[in-house]
Assembly symmetry: C2
Homo-oligomer: 117 residues x 2
DNA sequence: CTGTCGTACTACGTCTGGCGTAGTAAAAGT
DNA sequence: ACTTTTACTACGCCAGACGTAGTACGACAG
């Protein structure tokens, strides 16, 4: 029942990833775990979605990659957010508010209250 | 500045259309105007998006089409929502609440307050 | 009575993001 | 020694949105 269709999230995977990169550079596996934790398992990003988001965002100049010199553990590709990335993130936040406002016009509150379906 | 990217709305165009059909059968042009009005011009659905949504939803059994016998004016294709369509609409409303909850975790409130970008 | 605007669509093709499937490989746990 | 976890890459498909274009009828102005 409570799975989120990907079409809804579409366009916000990038935002989620950038949200964590705002704080500090990170890499795929860590971010995927953070998303899972923050959403209390309500949303789990697919690996392919995650890594293709990285490539796309690097191409767009929102993030830059660098290789880690790990003393121990596996070698990872880290990503750092750019100024353009911060701008893009802020834009998406503003857009989200607008979108929320728009969509909410079409949501029937009553249907939700008595969960009748 | 304040245009909504289609990727965000994606998956909710159907919901918007069904929202109006809940009340009474309607047709393309009327619905497109109603969406524009209800959202105060914040969102205007593209014609191709609208009509392809009709075909898709009819194929899925959410709506059924019938021809109008207009005494005057142009002939139109009307659509009526089905029980399955109502169910689908209710599902989408519930899904929306979940999605909102999830995405909001990643939205920085401060960025929004001082609109700094 | 002619041209333009509003109404009401259909057809076709492209793009993008998400995701299924599969495979690789090193480190860490048992 | 084997399995699990970590950390990816490659390939290809699919669906929804949308650009472009064209059709056609009615109303209304000049």
């Amino acid at each position: 029942m409570n799975t989120i269709s990907s079409d809804v999230i579409r366009g916000y995977n990038d935002t989620m990833i950038l949200f964590f990169l705002l704080e500090k550079p990170s890499y795929g596996y860590e971010i995927s775990k953070q998303i899972k934790t923050l959403t209390k398992e309500k949303y789990v990003i697919k690996e392919t979605t995650l890594y293709s988001a990285f490539t796309r965002m690097e191409k767009n100049g929102y993030i830059v990659s660098f290789s880690s010199d790990e003393e121990s553990g596996k070698r990872r590709t880290y990503y750092r957010i750019t100024d353009l990335g911060r701008e893009y993130y802020a834009q998406k936040c503003a857009e989200w508010n607008l979108t929320k406002e728009v969509i909410e016009n079409f949501i029937d509150k009553e249907v939700l209250q008595n969960g009748s379906y």
